[in-house]
Symmetry: C2
Subunit: 295 residues, 2 copies
């Protein structure tokens, strides 16, 4: 099965009627399943999560954008979260047998369609057209208020749509990224230094695994500490390898793992390697799970 | 999601056109996914596997039975596998959130409908109406050739349908059972006595785990031995507990596990406990797997 997940962030987090009119574009789309709608009044921003057959998700996302551009006027938008447009950022995430390359194609198709609505579009992460546009924060620097100037700056012409400032809708950042796994490992010690040392041992930037972002923090209420991680490519750096490395590093301090936490959702494929490893199921594939044949 | 799997065994394994006309009842049923059709000419028998929304599976199964009773005449059937009817046995297997009790209800509803077609029906396993009918082999003893006599024997009146012998269609055995997991553990020794001892340690009948059937056998080509198992209730006796017990018992002989094999398919829920155990994910549920939201 080829599946596409999409997590648009729109610049409206207070008026629930307006949000529902926009989100209805997803509810009304056949073949698309709405997973979550999370609005934050302080941020004045709503994050919408849905998935389905890729073409259906593409069309549903375009319908959502059309409604959001009609409903939201950035000239009146204030909120605590960085943003540069009415539909601020749209990441596509490949699931099942959909490849990253295919997710990028859908991101580019969506960006061109949004551009054709008269809105400047930047492509980021795997969909980026140049290295300095991979990072969302770099694209969004200056935010909506600095966008007119940014669009006029050499090197910052949009990847799709007009280079002129659209005061009502701002700009939209569209991209594709591999699904990330938010995974925490809790340790039986109150000493946060242990968590910080172990986080350094596994995080890429300090010499650890390539696809691990990690930090150590205290869980004061429990008298424990935590290594809190984003695993950004479970194919190359699978969950169990990181957990077992943390177990090994913790043993050096005489500390055991009390438990782990998967935050939010993760794709089924992320569990194939842990099952193969621990159960020594060398030939196992997720196709051996009955329910995959219904997807 | 509530899902029902069904695995009818029909008494035709040679005439592929006939088989396809019968199986077409499943292919033509909306909401039902055909997983497998396995015909055996020596057995003169075909095993059909499909699943879907329970009511759709019930209706599809009834459609399949109607076609099979029209196509197959037991008076001309010969084959190497024990059988007593044109549609010989129909097990229903609950998946997802469907309970065993619900699967039994569907089995009883199907049996009553088949009975109304003039065919004697016995209920077996979880759908059995009395202890001596739980075991399929006990019901089928005497086979088609002994069925007229069996139906006339006190204590063997059918659970549904007429008690009279139906020469054309024989009788059908309908039941419900929890999904079983066929799981093998391979050991790094050529000594089959080790596999037999370990099989005895884990199999219920010799004092082992309640829901484990096991035997030890040699894998001559590989110079290894195997503990070959059916795990008949992964809820009460989860996969990882059996594997780790075998690991512990094998260590007593200085033997390591070389690998394990999952034979065929298993439901997603069977992997929840192994993932929770090995990754210490105490609060994990399969709802955290993205794709479950599409089922």
């Amino acid at each position: 099965m080829k599946l596409l997940e999409c997590v648009p962030n729109i610049s409206e987090g207070r008026d629930l009627d307006t949000i529902e009119r926009i989100v209805a574009a997803i509810r009304e789309s056949p073949g698309v399943t709405l997973l979550d709608v999370a609005s934050d009044a302080d941020h004045n921003r709503t994050v919408i999560t849905y998935l389905g057959e890729p073409q259906a998700v593409l069309e549903a996302t375009l319908a959502l954008c059309t409604r959001a551009f009609a409903e939201i006027d950035m000239q009146r938008h204030h909120g605590g979260h960085p943003r540069m447009g009415a539909v601020d950022v749209i990441p596509f995430i490949p699931l099942g047998e959909l490849t990253s390359e295919e997710a990028v194609s859908y991101a580019h198709a969506l960006g061109e369609a949004i551009g054709a609505m008269g809105i400047p579009v930047y492509f980021y992460e795997d969909a980026a057209t140049r290295p300095e546009r991979r990072n969302l924060a770099d694209i969004r620097r200056g935010e909506y208020e600095g966008l007119a100037e940014k669009l006029a700056t050499p090197g910052w012409q949009p990847d799709a749509g007009p280079a002129g400032f659209n005061a009502r809708s701002g700009a939209t950042v569209v991209g594709a990224r591999f699904p990330l796994i938010a995974f925490n490992v809790n340790l039986a010690t109150p000493d946060v230094a242990v968590a910080k040392r172990i986080a350094d041992a596994v995080r890429n930037i300090r010499g650890g695994y390539r696809n691990v972002k990690a930090m150590g923090l205290a869980l004061e209420d429990r008298g424990e500490v935590q290594v809190s991680m984003n695993l950004v490519d479970y194919r190359a750096t699978p969950i169990q390898r990181v957990v077992e490395t943390i177990r090994f590093e913790a043993a050096r301090h005489g500390v055991l793992i009390t438990g782990c936490e998967l935050i939010g959702l993760a794709p089924l494929a992320a569990f194939e390697e842990p099952l193969k490893h621990y159960l020594q199921l060398h030939d196992f594939t997720i196709d051996q799970i009955v329910e995959t044949h219904l997807l």
